[in-house]
């Protein structure tokens, strides 16, 4: 297969303008005749559904939660980037573009990233107009903070709840369209298959999670905005319900899956405390603005942090990266934390933790200012750990947080299945091998508010889409495939719970395809995953029936997909014989332990095709070209 990314020609500054001008338009009066499905109601899904509704399309939006407002975008804390240059500190669209391409370790598509940086400006305007209560200066102007991987202050925030406030803005815009009658919202309903007719995405099979009823929904185009797949690892900062089922089942219907091994480990999470643990809690990266990260100089130092004098502390990020210090990008910060813990210098009961210390910032700025900036995060930390971070340094450790990989999309956000569009974290598009902090909110909203409204119109106007009916054999086949899958899970009646399998799968993937990987470990992991998956289909137990609210059944289907995706992650990681961004292969590092890229052989997007159960996936490469930002060894020193 040859991938056409449909990147517009001409100078990058004009690419998006040119592309929009060349797109075909749908007559305003005809828009309501086009039915679109939006799956997911996070930042990307809600903003897409709302905007398409405003334009007059007939939209149906689905979410598995009881309300669209619960989508996991809500948990994003720190902020959203935009190249407004309100701080007059040298920011520009080009600089945000440059920082993002570099931060992604030269594994993202330049044209996409440039458009993202351009759209960042309008996102802030839109959110402010919706009433998102961003932090302000006394004079009334918007204020900014800095974030990892950048030397300008371009991050807009609403306390430590930026994701919540942006999502509520998009949710309210969505509910306004529900009231206006352009959007039908269907909560507590999960997409379980994609319907492809004559090579085009024409609908989905969905399960009502309350009644268990399966239904077929047909449309002219399907838009997936279902988030990332970090929950493959079981323990992650994702919500418990976050899952890859929609994108994975679309993959099995023909959509290529790009760069599955690019996963992001967030450096600042609360360390694991016990084996009952169900999820990991993030502490916003913005804390690294004022917190200093350190571990004891000496191995196995079990004294309390306040007993360890300045001379006996190693502020290892400041020492190794004097120009970025504690604000190095996430992958670098995470790897360094792992390295000092592997040396035996980790802190806390498990030894898997480093200190994030605010004593200096409190001495310099006063407790009041720190409370203003991070009060709710400090409260949350204290609620969970029973320690007061104003007095004792926080203990943090890296955790899986975001997945840069996802379904392959072209510049118009269309997957390899015509009519199937993929937005936000669910696609692979803009972050390369490592996402910079405060860029996920930006991408979700850029895709939903400002890209899909144009590109889906172009698709509808330039495609001849005949009528299809529920009785179409392909629709019925998808429906019965879903039904068979559910019956099969319910019929196994084995002896192990879904969670116990999921936990074991997560541990395999974390150990061998987590913060660092090597060929031997990846090969073993693939074997282990296959064996465990085999056991899953023999020995899992799913109580209850398929005819009512059955949370075990929901989980069982999602975990079945995580098994297959986890394997593909390892295959992709094994194939990529280089280190880049979040993908750190131990065999490929510089003498001082930094990621060693191999641009000659691996400057491409790895897009994997599904070839059938038990068959090896097929790799298609999309070469990456860098005409503006010249690939270099990333240096934050």
């Amino acid at each position: 297969m040859k991938l056409d990314a449909r990147i517009p020609s001409g100078p990058i500054e004009q690419a998006w303008d040119n592309a929009r001008f060349e797109m075909k338009l749908v007559n305003p009066a005809n828009k309501r005749r086009h039915h679109l499905l939006v799956i997911g109601s996070g930042l990307a899904g809600a903003s897409a559904a709302a905007t398409l509704g405003e334009l007059g399309y007939n939209v149906t939006c689905f979410c598995f939660q009881d309300s669209p407002r619960r989508a996991h975008s809500i948990a994003a804390q720190g902020g959203i980037n935009a190249a407004k240059n309100y701080q007059n500190d040298g920011d520009s669209v080009y600089r945000l573009f440059y920082d993002t391409v570099k931060g992604g370790d030269f594994r993202a598509r330049e044209a996409n990233v440039y458009r993202l940086a351009q759209n960042s400006l309008s996102i802030i305007d839109q959110a402010v107009a919706q009433g998102v209560p961003f932090a302000r200066e006394y004079g009334g102007a918007l204020t900014n903070r800095s974030f990892g991987g950048a030397q300008v202050s371009r991050t807009f925030y609403a306390r430590g709840q930026t994701g919540q406030q942006l999502l509520l803005g998009a949710y309210q815009a969505l509910e306004r369209q529900v009231d206006a009658g352009t959007v039908t919202m269907i909560p507590r309903t999960e997409m379980l298959d994609l319907i492809v007719i004559d090579g085009r995405a024409r609908g989905i099979v969905a399960r009502n999670l309350i009644t268990g009823k399966l239904s077929v929904h047909l449309a002219e185009a399907v838009i997936l905005a279902t988030g990332g797949y970090g929950n493959v690892y079981y323990l992650s900062t994702n919500a418990k319900g976050s899952n890859a089922t929609a994108i994975w089942r679309a993959h099995k219907r023909g959509a290529l899956f790009a760069n599955p091994c690019y996963t992001q480990i967030h450096p600042t999470c609360i360390p694991v405390s016990g084996d009952y643990q169900s999820k990991l809690t993030l502490m916003s990266e913005s804390l690294r603005n004022d917190g200093r990260i350190w571990v004891p100089m000496n191995k196995g130092d079990k004294r309390t942090p306040n007993e360890i004098s300045e001379e006996e502390r190693d502020y290892y990020l400041e020492r190794r990266y004097p120009s970025f210090g504690n604000l190095v990008p996430r992958d670098v910060a995470s790897r360094n934390a792992k390295a000092v813990c592997d040396e035996g210098r980790g802190v806390g009961e498990t030894g898997l933790g480093v200190y994030l210390d605010f004593a200096d910032a409190i001495a310099r700025l006063g407790e009041h200012t720190i409370r203003e900036r991070y009060g709710n995060l400090f409260d949350m930390y204290q609620r969970i750990t029973d320690e007061n971070p104003y007095k004792v340094p926080m203990r943090i450790y890296p955790a899986i947080h975001y997945t840069m990989g996802g379904l392959w999309v072209d510049y118009q956000l269309q997957s390899t299945i015509p009519g199937l569009f993929v937005l936000g974290e669910a696609n692979f598009s803009d972050h390369g091998a490592n996402r910079l902090g405060a860029s996920a909110l930006m991408q979700g909203l850029s895709d939903g508010y400002f890209i899909i409204p144009y590109t889906v119109g172009n698709y509808l106007a330039s495609s001849k889409l005949g009528k299809v009916s529920e009785s179409h054999p392909d629709a019925q086949a998808a429906l019965s495939c879903v039904r068979t899958g559910i019956d099969k899970l319910l019929a196994i009646r084995g002896r192990r719970t879904v969670d116990s399998f999921h936990r074991e799968l997560g541990k395999i993937v974390w150990d061998d395809c987590g913060m660092s990987r090597n060929a031997q470990g990846l090969r073993t992991a693939i074997e282990k995953i296959r064996a465990l998956r085999e056991e899953y289909w023999q020995n899992v137990t799913v109580p209850g029936s398929g005819d009512d609210l059955n949370q075990s059944l929901e989980k069982a289907g999602r975990v079945a997909d995580f098994f297959e995706l986890g394997e593909l992650m390892c295959i992709d990681a094994l194939e990529r014989n280089e280190s880049c961004g979040g993908h750190f292969r131990e065999e490929y590092q510089t003498p001082d332990g930094e990621a060693q890229r191999d641009d000659e052989h691996f400057s491409y997007v790895a897009a994997w095709g599904y070839t059938g159960p038990g068959k090896p996936p097929e790799l298609t490469q999309e070469p990456l070209e860098f005409a503006y930002v010249h690939p270099s060894q990333r240096s934050y020193k």
Partner: protein
């Protein structure tokens, strides 16, 4: 430590319900309330029984999915804390905790500890927004918003829509939830053009859903995990009165509450 969880079990709205007591051993004080339920559920599944259905998602106190009564208190005894962040160290060895779903008529029962809170979405549909379509916005700094105003708007906007306020209120009022959105948008300059209409329609919808009236008892703010201040209700009342006075000749339309889950209408 060892605890007894006395949990409301009911298969569906039509099925009979009852309390069932479950002893849970090996409760780690660091666990959250929901992780304690996870442990119980794992043991139920291994015994071939149906696990306790409860709502949860982010498990970091922000999505608003989780929530139930713990021995009569919405979200349990710890102030400003949802059940997903309530650690077991707040209980004593041997305690019995009584877990019940939110009980309020506008929140129809679904299963075990799960209820239907779609009434909240409809209250937002009735006007909990600023009508600005994508692309209409002026530059972000074109409208200055004073820091104090922005902070007060943020205090109200922090609501997570969990429904604890309704569950705690002896009248089953949704005034704190509705007031929070009216206050958030009504404080900001961007929210002024629709301020009257918003208050009138949202209050009308709240009444149409069957939520009770507010009599300023304050239980709502006491259990609110985000500590939404009671003042938002005063603000709602003032904006409502202002709106009624100015728009009294306008016909207020409400959205018909939907209670069933057969959502696919063809």
């Amino acid at each position: 430590m060892k605890l007894t969880l006395k949990i409301w079990r009911q298969k569906g709205p039509e099925a009979p319900g009852k309390f069932v007591s479950y002893p849970v051993d090996n409760v780690n004080p660091e666990m959250s309330m929901l992780e304690c339920l996870d442990v119980l559920n794992e043991s139920l599944i291994e015994r071939g029984e149906e696990p306790v259905a409860f709502e949860h998602d982010c498990r970091e106190g922000i999505c608003g999915s989780c929530g139930f009564m713990i021995s009569g208190i919405a979200h349990g005894p710890q102030a400003a804390t949802t059940v997903c962040q309530l650690t077991m160290r707040h209980f004593k060895d041997g305690d019995e905790l009584v877990l019940e779903p939110w009980r309020s008529r506008p929140f129809p029962f679904v299963k075990d500890l799960v209820v239907d809170r779609r009434a909240f979405d409809r209250i937002v549909q009735a006007g909990g927004y600023i009508s600005v379509s994508t692309g209409n916005a002026p530059d972000g700094n074109a409208i200055p918003v004073g820091k104090e105003e922005a902070d007060r708007a943020m205090d109200a906007a922090a609501c997570i829509g969990c429904g604890a306020c309704v569950a705690a209120c002896p009248n089953g009022s949704a005034a704190l939830f509705t007031g929070a959105k009216i206050a958030h948008l009504g404080i900001l300059p961007q929210g002024q053009p629709e301020r009257d209409r918003r208050a009138v329609r949202m209050v009308a919808q709240m009444n149409a859903e069957g939520f009770g009236s507010c009599t300023n008892i304050g239980e709502c703010t006491g259990v609110c995990p985000k500590e939404i201040p009671l003042e938002v209700i005063a603000r709602m009342n003032r904006d409502y009165l202002r709106g009624i006075w100015k728009e009294r000749h306008q016909l207020v339309t409400t959205i018909a509450p939907v209670t069933d889950w057969d959502l696919v209408t063809k």
